[in-house]
């Protein structure tokens, strides 16, 4: 192994089979308090519905085995708690532990969504304060905390637009989406009943405003834009874009995935956005947890407010808070109960810790991205050179000359002790390396990353084979994904 790897060393990790492979009849890891009422015979009570044979194959293990099993598995993961996670567009920042603590308090974690609102004022005040904070940060007029994730936020936003336009007499047919957009945008538009029309970016990576002017007709309901874009670049002509849409009665939707570049420095409500979602699991630090849960609140201008999904948080008699479901113009309900409350609690705890100082986090995130850009721009090709905000996108064009692609570089980065950056996205950059350090990385960690990337760039020129078979230090090598998809094995038997 190269001596240039300064961040990581190898150490032994424990082997562990599947839970089902360590199971043995008669073991158990959980005891219930004794039953304090007369037993009911299941066969009598349930008749033909009785599951008389129990659950075939269900695990039978002891407590220490369960603890060790999952602890061993955990050591096979990379995590923010171990180091930088430079995934572009994912905003993998520090997840403060106090947020976990408060979300688990008695009186917070224990509350039932259908209990009387008089006994839920604490929960409702938390929701109210979070709404107020997010409105201040986005500069919008109204908000819903209901959506379960960014993609559901997008759907909620488009349904709001649809309801608003329908009320004007015509819901229209199309949603415009730039070719640099997240895949969720077009997938969402279809569920909202819209046809998707892609807009190509101009050579500088910005929305082509002249092209947009041609495309916006009275068939167009909205443009879904990500700002800063997935290239990490602010749309300079954002207010012209909003103007073109508004002149034709269409609305501007903003995917707030990159809000970490703006919080405390600029507000979408000020630059013409009509409706947007936030990813609380990105900008507002709620843990990714290996893929979720997230939350995708949707903030909007006043004109869309009547259509918010139910339940809507309201103040009754000027004092007591309540969740209202009787809203005649509402788009309806997007998930059961009242939002992913536990996620919302964590996001509020994060905001309270920063207060107005949240702008410092934004500044540090942008500082880190630009520092990395400056230090890597000679080693890697920078296809779009406009100023970067919270992330920077390189391409593998230089390394391609040695037949090394972005995936090879990413896999080699694992040997250096880092999680890879985002590969092959955005689609407008062939062989993209999309790097978002976030504010959570120290100068030292950024320097280690730069050192690793430069070293890999050198290896790509001198020893490309080393990269093509990377990673070399993990428990397993690259897995045969093609074979896995051809004959899928999706469960243990």
């Amino acid at each position: 192994m190269s001596e240039k790897i300064s961040k990581a060393s190898r150490h032994v990790s424990q082997n562990e089979g599947l839970l089902f492979e360590i199971s043995s009849p008669g073991k158990r890891a959980f005891d219930l308090p004794p039953l304090d009422v007369p037993p009911t015979q299941p066969r009598e009570a349930l008749g033909a519905n009785y599951r008389s044979n129990g659950i075939a194959g269900f695990p039978e293990v002891s407590e220490i085995e369960v603890l060790r099993h999952f602890t061993r598995l955990s050591t096979w993961n990379y995590a923010i708690d171990l180091g930088m996670y430079p995934l572009g567009s994912c905003t993998m920042k520090y997840n403060p532990r106090v947020n976990e603590f408060v979300a688990r308090l008695d009186g917070i974690a224990t509350e039932h969504p259908l209990q009387p609102s008089a006994l839920s004022q604490g929960c409702l005040k938390i929701l109210r304060l979070l709404e107020q904070c997010l409105l201040e940060i986005t500069g919008m007029d109204a908000i819903t905390l209901q959506p379960a994730a960014g993609a559901q936020g997008e759907l909620t936003g488009l349904l709001l637009i649809r309801a608003y336009l329908e009320r004007q007499g015509n819901p229209r047919k199309k949603v415009l989406i730039p070719d640099s957009a997240h895949g969720t945008n077009p997938a969402t538009a279809v569920i909202a009943g819209y046809a998707v029309e892609n807009i190509r970016s101009d050579p500088r990576g910005q929305v082509d405003v002249d092209k947009l002017r041609e495309l916006v007709t009275d068939e167009v309901a909205a443009l879904m834009i990500t700002n800063p874009s997935t290239l990490g670049i602010f749309e300079e002509r954002i207010s012209d874009i909003a103007g073109i849409l508004h002149a034709k009665g269409a609305l501007l939707y903003m995917d707030g995935a990159n809000m970490n570049a703006l919080a405390g420095r600029a507000r979408p409500g000020d630059f013409g956005v009509d409706v947007m979602h936030l990813n609380l699991h990105k900008t507002f630090s709620t843990p990714h947890g290996g893929g979720g849960p997230g939350a995708g609140p949707v903030a909007m201008k006043k004109s869309l407010e009547p259509f918010r999904p139910v339940p809507v948080l309201v103040e009754k008699d000027g004092r007591e808070l309540a969740l209202e479901t009787d809203r005649p113009h509402s788009i309806g309900r997007v998930k059961a109960f009242s939002g992913s409350f536990g996620v919302l609690v964590r996001a509020l705890a994060y905001i309270l810790a920063y207060g107005p100082g949240i702008s410092q986090a934004t500044e540090d995130a942008v500082l880190n991205a630009n520092y990395i850009r400056k230090n890597l721009e000679r080693a890697f090709k920078l296809p779009y050179t406009l100023p970067s905000m919270h992330e920077v996108v390189f391409s593998d064009a230089i390394q391609k000359e040695n037949d090394v692609n972005t995936m090879d570089i990413a896999k080699r980065l694992i040997d250096y002790g880092f999680h890879p950056y985002t590969t092959a996205f955005p689609l407008i950059v062939p062989g993209a390396l999309m790097i978002e350090p976030t504010e959570s990385e120290s100068k030292q960690e950024c320097d280690l990353f730069i050192e690793a990337m430069r070293s890999i760039a050198e290896e790509a020129a001198t020893n490309p084979d080393l990269l093509k078979h990377a990673p070399h230090t993990t428990r397993i090598g690259r897995l045969d994904e093609v074979a896995a998809a051809r004959k899928p094995v999706l469960r243990w038997k």
Binding site: L18, R28, A29, L32, P39, P42, L46, N49, R51, G54, I55, G57, F58, P59, E63, L73, T75, A79, V102, D106, I108, H112, P113, L114, P116, S120, G122, A149, G183, P186, A187, E236, P287, H288, G289, G290, G291, R333, V334, A336, S338, S340, F341, G342, I351, L352, G355, E363, L367, N370, K374, H419, S440, P471, I476, G477, R478, L479, A485, P488
Partner: protein, 451 residues
């Protein structure tokens, strides 16, 4: 700020390296009129102690100290401290979606185990890595059935959770799918005649919940037979997973949409929970959401990867099976750890305790003059009772005894006035059940007279 790892000198050093005079230079691409001049008006900054105090103060304004008899899709069950211990390991808590398999084997193997456990519970062949909750899982199951059958009409039992029905309506409104409701009979179960006559060759899916929202266990085999005679797919929603420890799984269903909250997740005022879709192997390519599958590396070592991604939005964009991206991975991990702890015997025992306590509660409550069991069909841990006066009025009096009474059904079912849905789990003690019975007896004596 304690979360930010830079000194002022380091910031200056980095700015210098970039060649920027000040941090404002890095924001110069934001057009001048849109640059914020003033600090945001936000509360804080709070120290850790102040953050904790704020939330402890809010917690006191909630229902601490009350005994609840509420279920209706969210259940109180015992949880082991081991579950939270595992969930709070940073390697699980702070990791991303496992796209980079070589350094995500922990998450991937846990998902594979989750998928297996869900298959064993539901009697289905494959399960996905999770959906947002039971309501969106049910909705996605319907959309999946529509793709598979290419039929545009859906028959939904009125006894499906009303909020699940609402979500289904929100999602289907703009994609040319017609939702029609099937009533329940006097026994609280899906009315077989009504189902039979609503079926037709344009019906793609029949959706029922079992145990249903009124607590009644549906006759899934015969509903399946009826649906299948018209080549419609049967979607069965399960909101109370613990029932599967003692109730026969819906093996006749084509798709099962399960809410996993009962397995290790606290009520948390409505979320985050975890939905999951389980189905037959032959339908897997129309399934929404992520899937973990087994694979081997070049040396033949077993590992796990996210697979069949060609169904998903990041590959297929507007032709994806769903727009879901972020799911409920950590909640699915909670379910996996919790079910590993419970195991075969623990889950059976927990389910039998629910059954016994709910039946005991019913026997105690119907002793009270004026209280009647509403439906005769078998139930698990929830049952409907009819009271002689409005439930809301009775519940207000129960609050004085520190009891959050049963769920009042009349807001969702105006045809069931004065009906209440009682939930009793293994966490409810005999003493609490007896206290409810005596408080209800008093409340009915007083409350109905003042009517």
């Amino acid at each position: 700020m304690r979360y930010l790892p830079k000194s002022p000198a380091e910031r200056d050093e980095m700015l210098q390296a970039i060649g920027a005079r000040s941090i404002d230079d890095l924001f110069s691409s934001i057009p001048e009129p849109f640059r914020l001049r003033e600090p945001l008006r936000l509360p804080g900054p709070y120290s850790e102690a102040e953050v904790v105090r704020y939330f402890k103060d809010r917690a006191k304004e909630n229902s601490v100290g009350y005994t609840r008899f509420l279920g209706a899709g969210v259940y109180d069950h015992l949880r082991s401290v081991v579950t939270d211990t595992i969930l709070q390991r940073g390697e699980f808590l702070t990791s991303y979606t496992p796209y980079q398999a070589e350094i995500s084997q922990g998450t991937l193997q846990a998902i594979f185990e989750f998928q297996t456990l869900v298959c064993q519970l539901t009697g289905q062949e494959v399960a996905n890595a999770s959906m947002w909750d039971g309501s969106t899982a049910t909705t996605e199951a319907v959309l999946m059935a529509e793709r598979l059958t290419r039929r545009r009409r859906v028959l939904v039992a009125r006894s499906l959770h009303p909020e699940y029905r609402d979500v289904l309506k929100t999602y289907t409104k703009n994609v040319d799918i017609e939702v029609e409701e099937i009533p329940f009979g006097s026994d609280g179960a899906v009315d077989p005649q009504a189902l039979q006559s609503a079926l037709g060759e344009d019906v793609g899916a029949v959706v029922v919940q079992s145990p249903n929202f009124l607590g009644v266990i549906e006759d899934v085999p015969s509903i399946a037979e009826t649906a299948h005679l018209s080549q419609a797919m049967l979607v069965v929603a399960v909101t109370e997973g613990v029932s599967l420890g003692v109730v026969r799984p819906p093996v006749e269903a084509d798709i099962v949409a399960l809410e996993g909250q009962s397995f290790g997740l606290p009520p948390s005022y409505g979320g985050p929970f975890v939905g999951v879709i389980a189905t037959h192997e032959k339908f897997v390519r129309q399934m929404p959401g992520r899937l973990a599958g087994q694979a081997v590396d070049s040396q033949g070592r077993r590992g796990f990867v996210l697979t069949l991604a060609a169904r998903e939005q990041h590959i297929r964009r507007e032709r994806a099976t769903s727009n879901i991206c972020t799911n409920q991975a950590l909640c699915a991990l909670a379910v996996t750890v919790h079910l590993s702890l419970l195991g075969k015997e623990g889950l059976r025992e927990m389910a039998e305790q629910n059954l016994a306590k709910a039946h005991f509660a019913l026997r105690e409550l119907v002793k009270i003059p004026g209280v009647q069991r509403a439906f005769a069909e078998p139930f698990f841990n929830e049952f409907t009772i009819a009271l002689p006066c409005p439930v809301e009025r009775v519940n207000r009096q129960l609050l004085d005894e520190k009891i959050v009474g049963p769920f009042s059904l009349d807001s969702f079912y105006p045809d069931l006035p004065d009906h209440a849905l009682v939930c009793v789990t293994e966490t409810t003690t005999r003493a609490e059940i007896e206290k409810l019975a005596s408080a209800l007896r008093v409340a009915l004596a007083v409350g109905c007279e003042t009517a």
